[in-house]
């Protein structure tokens, strides 16, 4: 299995421990775990051996989920404002580019994971609606003489304006979803949109359900990225597309220096001044550094079963869009 060194090291540690422990019962440990079948699954990942990174800190895998939750709970309200400030508005272009790469057609079923505040979902709905309107315009021009029935049909319910497209926004954080829902309401998005509180590592969907799976600036916060990728593969229909928009490694050395200075000196300060939260933004910039490079992540996606995996660097590699297909 082609995996980067550090990954191979701790997945090996985890497996090594479970083999040693499988014959030995640890009753004390069980009580602290969540009840139900999930507890049995956690038995294979011993707390002491499997550690992971939380920014530049080392924490146990169990802790990471909770800490990430707290970060996003605290930044939720100012999330969009901070995105604009930190990226000088460029995040909007990145997200637009993701949609243009996706080229959804009316009828597409999209699953947007870690989509909390809805940026991708709203862009998707806009895109599909615009496409549908263009199609209707073309039809109009083609047939100038409409019958009364056809005219009457045009006045029907708005579901038609999306042509059957649907987006499900799934996020693990309640606060982010709440903000997203409020935004949707404020901006008038109703049809074709659904919100779900769910875990990227364990999606509450059946197999082969979605045409496109997106995760924008979310996957680096997931504790087990490989599990999230496997779930993505599972819920996509054959022929479905995986798209990931994420911060990545800058390929230009000069820009890299400037980016580091900006990330570590400016962003946490902005976080403190605007959102009153230095630590969360410190975590954010550190987590970017911990995320695998474009090539490494590409290999991880291939390991999950995706094919024709490619990536495209945006803004000299500050951000990259990885794409793969389930064939």
């Amino acid at each position: 299995m082609a995996a980067p060194r550090s990954w191979a090291l701790w997945s090996f540690c985890g497996r090594g421990w479970s083999r040693a422990v499988s014959g030995y019962r640890v009753p004390g440990l069980r009580s602290s775990w969540p009840r139900g079948p999930l507890g049995a699954r956690l038995l294979s990942q011993e707390k002491e051996a499997t550690e992971t990174h939380f920014g530049f800190e080392t924490v146990s895998e169990e802790e990471k989920g909770g800490k990430v939750y707290q970060v996003f709970e605290s930044v939720a309200k100012k999330y969009d404002v901070m995105n604009d400030m930190m990226s000088l508005g460029i995040h909007r272009v990145w997200k637009d580019l993701l949609l243009w790469k996706m080229r959804p057609f009316p009828g597409t079923q999209l699953l947007d994971v870690a989509g909390g505040t809805g940026d991708i979902a709203f862009r998707f709905l806009n895109y599909v609606q615009a496409q549908h309107q263009r199609k209707q315009k073309r039809q109009l021009r083609a047939q100038q003489n409409l019958s009364w029935e056809e005219i009457a049909r045009k006045y029907q319910n708005e579901e038609d304006s999306l042509g059957g497209s649907r987006v499900m926004v799934c996020d693990i954080n309640k606060e982010m979803l709440k903000i997203g829902k409020q935004k949707a309401h404020a901006q008038g998005y109703k049809a074709g949109l659904a919100w779900i509180l769910g875990d990227a590592e364990e999606l509450p969907f059946d197999d082969d359900k979605f045409d496109v799976y997106t995760i924008a600036f979310g996957i680096r916060n997931v504790t087990h990225i490989d599990q999230a990728l496997q779930e993505a593969h599972r819920v996509l229909k054959p022929g479905g597309r995986f798209l990931c928009l994420e911060f990545s490694q800058v390929n230009n050395p000069l820009l890299s220096r400037l980016y580091d200075v900006y990330s570590f000196q400016v962003i946490p300060v902005l976080g403190e001044v605007i959102a009153g939260d230095w630590k969360s933004y410190q975590y954010l910039v550190e987590s970017i550094r911990q995320f695998p490079s474009q090539e490494e992540f590409k290999e991880m996606i291939e390991d999950a079963g995706f094919q024709k995996v490619t990536y495209e660097n945006l803004t000299s590699g500050i951000v990259a869009i990885h794409s793969g297909f389930k064939l």
Partner: protein
């Protein structure tokens, strides 16, 4: 002001009593918290991967076979396994109360 008026759903009516000016403003700001039945086509139980049924009384999604109930808060189903509750114990409690 509020230009589009949504028909009040039973859930919403129970929460808000008389709509005074302040509550009318509140209603405009808060999105409707109704559960969208479309979700029933997509969501499945995390354990059995079987479809769920919607229980309007408790506002939950239920997997009857395994007795798991996922709650719905503000119209958003909570599909985290640790947050779900087991229904079998609760039905026993209800029987004892009656």
């Amino acid at each position: 002001m509020v230009t589009h008026s949504l028909p009040p759903t039973p859930g919403v009516c129970m929460h808000r009593g008389h709509l005074n000016q302040q509550e009318k403003n509140e209603r405009k700001e808060k999105p409707p918290h109704t559960f969208d039945p479309v979700l029933l086509e997509f969501l499945v139980c995390l354990l059995s991967k079987k479809p769920l049924s919607y229980e309007a009384l408790t506002n939950e999604l239920i997997n009857e076979d395994l007795g798991i109930a996922y709650s719905i808060i503000d119209g958003i189903p909570n599909m985290i396994l640790q947050a779900a509750r087991m229904t079998h114990q609760n039905t026993k409690q209800e029987e004892m109360e009656h």
